[in-house]
Symmetry: C2
Subunit: 117 residues, 2 copies
């Protein structure tokens, strides 16, 4: 059975980067706004901001540049560092699927087929 999903989290001391933050960065890049990105992901405004603040605090440069304020909030976009982290994380996921194809297939062959679907 093919894995439907690989979930990869990187821990650098207290700083974690994983699929939720990567998806949020992608949504911010697409929406141009943290609140719109949060809505797209079914996440509260508070939660989206809190993830952005954690990312901005954990890296040497902020990953997201935002102008907070105004009735609908200011715009937001990824910084160069944000684009790099996101691109490298996606590349890492692809490398895992590629370099680990044999191991993933061997484990998958032992998984009981899903008869519920």
């Amino acid at each position: 059975m093919d894995p439907t999903r690989l979930m990869l989290r990187l821990y650098f001391g207290p700083v974690m980067f994983g699929p939720g933050k990567a998806d949020l960065l992608e949504a911010i890049a697409a929406e141009g706004s943290i609140s719109a990105a949060g809505r797209r992901m079914g996440m509260s405004y508070k939660r989206a901001w809190s993830l952005v603040e954690a990312m901005n605090a954990g890296f040497v440069e902020p990953l997201v540049d935002s102008a907070r304020g105004g009735a609908h909030g200011g715009g937001a976009h990824l910084t160069a560092a944000g684009e790099t982290v996101l691109a490298q994380y996606r590349a890492l996921e692809a490398r895992l699927r590629e370099a680990g194809a044999t191991e993933i297939a061997t484990i998958g062959a032992l998984v009981k087929p899903d008869v519920s679907g």
Copy 2:
């Protein structure tokens, strides 16, 4: 900054395999008992059994063979399938570090050094 930990979870439909289950399989192989393995991991007996039951139900063959019963519980060991899944999962983690070294280092170089330690 080097990642202190990479956490990798594989989802095959409803079946998940990740670091907690891999560590439990290793502890069972070392201890020869599910309850001793659970204690070693600071996990309740109930939790350890529930993880073993989930693994045994999710794969075409059980991953753990156990003789439940007796005052101290029966012994337990990994089946051939259990040994294969564990070994392939550890190999996959190693491949990820190896094949993804550049991406991991690029992200790590952007992480703020941990000044708390």
